[in-house]
C-alpha cells in the first residue's frame, strides 16, 4: 500500500492542472441543446488538439497511454477546473471500450480517431419503447441481405441521449427472429445520415432537447459495420454496459468537485443554526471521499488483473444516490431561493435524478448486487 502519488503521477497532475486551468471554458450553455452542443464541440476539439480528449487511449489513436490511475487524476483535475460534462462521453466511455475489445483493426482505425477528434459523434441505441429496464425485450430487427453484403435495419430506438445532435449510433438489433431474449442480437454501427434513418429530438425533464427517438426504415448497413460476431450482440454489449456501470462514466472527480461546491455554498449560505443541513453537507463530502478511495482501491485491483464482475453495480447505486443527496442538500441550503435556481443547483438536481434511472435502474442494480455479489437466489 502506498497512498501517496508517485512523482510521475504528481507530474501528470501538474500538467493536467496547468493546461485545464488555462483552457477550460467558462459559462458554457447546456450541451443538451443544439446551440450548446455546438459550443461543446469546440471544447471537445480543443481537448483533442492538446491530446487531453482520451488520455487513456494509445497514442496512435490520439491518447497518452495514461494508466487508469492517471486517468482518474485527469478526471479529478478536469472537474476541479470546472470542466463541463463531456458531450462525447457515450462514444468515448461506452462504445470505445467495446471497439478496443471486439473491433477489427480496420474498425479501430476507422472509428476511434474520428471519435476522439469529435468528428464522429456517437449516441447509444439500446432502449426501445418496450425495452427499457428489460433490454432483452429489444424488437428492432436486422434482416440479412446477402446480395448487398450486409443487413437491413428496421424498428425504433428511444431515450437516445443527445441523439438529435450526433452523427452515428451504436445499437443492438434482433438479427435472428427465432431467438428469444438475450440471444440472436447483433451489435451495429450506423451513420445517422444514411437513407431510412429518421431522428426526432425531444425534451428531457429540464426542457432541453437531450433525448431522441431514432426510427429505422429498411436501413442498409454493410457487414463492415457489425461489431463483434453476428448474433452475439448481447455479449458484446455487456462489456460496454459493464464499463458504463463501473468506472468510466462516473469518475470520482465529478463528485469531489460537486462536494467542494456544496461546501462553498454552505460557507456562503449556511445558517449556523441549521445543523441538520450542516450534517448533510459533511455527509456528502465524506461520501465523495469514500467514493474516491473506493475507486483507488478498485483501480488497483483492476491493475492487478482482478475481474470485478458485478461489483460495478455497487458503484452505480452509490454515486447516483450520492449525487441526488448532494443536490437535495444544496436545495435545502438555498431554501425558498431553490425554486429560482440562479446558481444552477436546481438544474443539477434534475439531472442527478436521472442517475438512479439510466444505465440500468438502481432497482436492477440492487438485484444484481443481491444475486451476483451476495449470491442470493434469483426470483
Amino acid at each position: 500500500m502506498d497512498l501517496s502519488f508517485t512523482a510521475d503521477e504528481a507530474a501528470f497532475r501538474d500538467e493536467c492542472r496547468a493546461w485545464l486551468e488555462a483552457n477550460v471554458p467558462r459559462g458554457l450553455p447546456s450541451g443538451d441543446t443544439r446551440e450548446g452542443f455546438a459550443r461543446h464541440l469546440e471544447w471537445e476539439r480543443a481537448l483533442f488538439d492538446a491530446r487531453w480528449a482520451v488520455v487513456s487511449w494509445p497514442e496512435e489513436h490520439g491518447g497518452r497511454d495514461a494508466s487508469p490511475m492517471e486517468w482518474l487524476i485527469f478526471e479529478e483535475e478536469y472537474y476541479r477546473a470546472g470542466g463541463p460534462q463531456r458531450v462525447t462521453q457515450n462514444g468515448i466511455f461506452l462504445l470505445a471500450p467495446t471497439v478496443f475489445a471486439f473491433g477489427t483493426r480496420e474498425q479501430q482505425d476507422r472509428i476511434l480517431p474520428r471519435m476522439a477528434a469529435a468528428e464522429d459523434l456517437w449516441c447509444q441505441g439500446w432502449s426501445e419503447p418496450d425495452a427499457g429496464s428489460d433490454l432483452a425485450g429489444i424488437t428492432s430487427r436486422a434482416a440479412r441481405d446477402d446480395g448487398a453484403g450486409g443487413w437491413r435495419l428496421s424498428g425504433q430506438k428511444t431515450w437516445t441521449t443527445r441523439g438529435a445532435f450526433c452523427t452515428h449510433l451504436f445499437g443492438l438489433f434482433r438479427s435472428d427472429p427465432d431467438a428469444e431474449r438475450h440471444r440472436g442480437l447483433t451489435y451495429f454501427l450506423v451513420p445517422l445520415d444514411v437513407p431510412g434513418v429518421t431522428v426526432r429530438g425531444f425534451g428531457r425533464l429540464d426542457g432541453d432537447e437531450g433525448f431522441a427517438e431514432v426510427f429505422f426504415d429498411d436501413v442498409f448497413v454493410p457487414d463492415a459495420d457489425v461489431l463483434g460476431e453476428v448474433h452475439q450482440g448481447w455479449r458484446v454489449a455487456m462489456a460496454t454496459t459493464s464499463s458504463e456501470r463501473g468506472l468510466t462514466l462516473r469518475s470520482p472527480g465529478r463528485f469531489m468537485a460537486a462536494a467542494a461546491r456544496l461546501v462553498d455554498l454552505w460557507r456562503e449560505r449556511g445558517d449556523a443554526d441549521d445543523a441538520s443541513a450542516r450534517d448533510d453537507v459533511i455527509r456528502a463530502w465524506i461520501d465523495a471521499e469514500a467514493y474516491r478511495w473506493q475507486t483507488f482501491l478498485t483501480v488497483t485491483r483492476m491493475t492487478d488483473g482482478e475481474d470485478l464482475g458485478a461489483e460495478s453495480s455497487l458503484t452505480k447505486v452509490f454515486w447516483s444516490e450520492l449525487d441526488v443527496r448532494l443536490h437535495e442538500t444544496a436545495l435545502q441550503l438555498l431554501g425558498t431561493a431553490a425554486e429560482r435556481d440562479e446558481s444552477g443547483w436546481m438544474k443539477g438536481f434534475q439531472f442527478a435524478l436521472s442517475g438512479p434511472i439510466y444505465a440500468g435502474t438502481n432497482e436492477i442494480q440492487r438485484n444484481v448486487i443481491a444475486e451476483r455479489v451476495l449470491g442470493l437466489p434469483r426470483a
Binding site: D130, D134, G137, S276, A338, R340, I357
Partner: protein
C-alpha cells in the same frame, strides 16, 4: 372530537374536482408555461364561490372558513392549477374589509409574495399585488408596479420580482396582519402539496399497472410496490396535519403557527418523496418533457421551497416545543 368533513364540504370538493378535471388539464398547465392563461378555470372557481370562501357573506363571499377551503386547495394542487389561488383566496381576501365583487367572481387576480420577500408567482396575469412592508400591507394595482421576470423551476408559476413605490396602492391592513397572512399562505401551500402528492401517486400507479417489462406489469415488482407504498404512507400521515392546521387557523388557536409548520413540513416532505418515487417508478418516460409527470414534480419542488421549506418549518416547531 369529530375529525371529518361535512357532506356539504365533500360535495363542494367534488364539484371543484369535476370543474378542474375539465378546465385545468395537463394541457392547461403546459399552456401556462408558454404564458397562456387558464381563464376558464379561474372564472369557474370564481363562479363557484371558491375565491370568496373566506370573504364575508355581506360582501358577496361565502363567509366560510379554512376548514371549508382546505379540500378545495388540495384539489387545486391535484390539478397543478397555474393560478394564484393561495395568494388570492387564502392570503389576500381575508385582509380585505369587504372585497370588491370583481375579487370574488374570477374577473381579476391578486398575487402576493411569501416570507418577507418581494417575489410573486403568476405575476404576468395578476391585476393586484400585495406588498408587505414593516408597518403595513398595501394592495397595489398592476399599473403601479414594475415586474422583473425570474425563472422558476416550474415555468407555469411565472415568477417575478415586484417593485412598487412606497406609497403605491392602498393600505389594507397594518403590520400586525402580516404574520397571519403568512400562516394562511403556508397552510394553503401545504394543502396543495398534499393534492400534488396524491396526483403523482395516482399517475404512477396507473403507469405501473400498464407498463410491462420482463413479461409482467412493473407494478408487480416488490421494489416498485414498496416505493409507492412509502409515498402513500407519507401522504396518509401528512393529510391530517393539514386539516388540523385548517381547524386551528379557523379557531385562532394559540398554537396555530406550530400546527401550520407541522403541516407544511410534513406535506412538503410527503410531496417531494412522492415526486422522487413517481419518477423512479416511471423511469425514462417520467424524465421526458412530453410526458406530464414533470409538470407536477416541478410544482412540487417549487411549493416545497415556497412559504418556508420543511427544515425551516421544523425549526419553527422546535422553537415552540423544545
Amino acid at each position: 372530537m369529530r375529525f371529518a368533513f361535512t357532506e356539504d364540504q365533500v360535495a363542494f370538493r367534488d364539484a371543484v374536482r369535476d370543474v378542474l378535471a375539465k378546465e385545468c388539464t395537463p394541457a392547461t398547465v403546459r399552456a401556462a408555461w408558454a404564458g397562456g392563461g387558464s381563464e376558464d378555470a379561474w372564472a369557474a372557481l370564481g363562479a363557484m364561490g371558491v375565491l370568496g370562501v373566506l370573504a364575508p357573506e355581506a360582501a358577496g363571499g361565502l363567509g366560510l372558513t379554512a376548514v371549508d377551503l382546505v379540500l378545495l386547495l388540495e384539489e387545486s394542487g391535484f390539478a397543478a392549477l397555474p393560478e394564484p389561488l393561495v395568494e388570492h383566496g387564502c392570503v389576500a381576501i381575508p385582509l380585505l374589509d369587504g372585497p370588491e365583487p370583481e375579487l370574488l367572481d374570477g374577473s381579476v387576480r391578486v398575487t402576493a409574495p411569501f416570507h418577507h420577500d418581494t417575489v410573486v408567482p403568476y405575476a404576468d396575469h395578476a391585476d393586484w399585488f400585495l406588498c408587505f412592508d414593516a408597518g403595513a400591507i398595501r394592495l397595489v394595482p398592476r399599473a403601479a408596479v414594475e415586474l422583473e421576470p425570474l425563472e422558476s423551476v416550474d415555468g407555469a408559476r411565472r415568477l417575478a420580482r415586484v417593485r412598487a413605490p412606497d406609497d403605491a396602492g392602498a393600505v389594507v391592513a397594518d403590520g400586525s396582519a402580516v404574520k397571519q397572512a403568512f400562516e394562511r399562505g403556508a397552510f394553503g401551500t401545504a394543502a396543495q402539496l398534499v393534492g400534488l402528492a396524491r396526483r403523482m401517486i395516482e399517475m404512477t400507479v396507473e403507469y405501473a399497472k400498464g407498463r410491462r417489462q420482463f413479461g409482467v406489469p412493473i407494478g408487480s415488482f416488490q421494489a416498485v410496490k414498496h416505493h409507492l407504498a412509502d409515498a402513500r404512507i407519507a401522504l396518509e400521515f401528512a393529510r391530517p396535519l393539514v386539516y388540523r392546521a385548517a381547524w386551528s387557523l379557523t379557531r385562532g388557536d394559540a398554537d396555530a403557527s406550530t400546527h401550520v409548520s407541522m403541516a407544511k413540513s410534513t406535506a412538503s416532505d410527503a410531496a417531494v418523496l412522492a415526486a422522487r418515487r413517481a419518477l423512479q417508478c416511471h423511469g425514462a418516460i417520467g424524465y421526458s418533457y412530453e410526458y406530464d409527470l414533470h409538470l407536477f414534480m416541478k410544482r412540487t419542488w417549487a411549493l416545497a421551497a415556497a412559504w418556508g421549506d420543511a427544515a425551516w418549518h421544523r425549526d419553527r416547531v422546535g422553537r415552540a416545543i423544545l
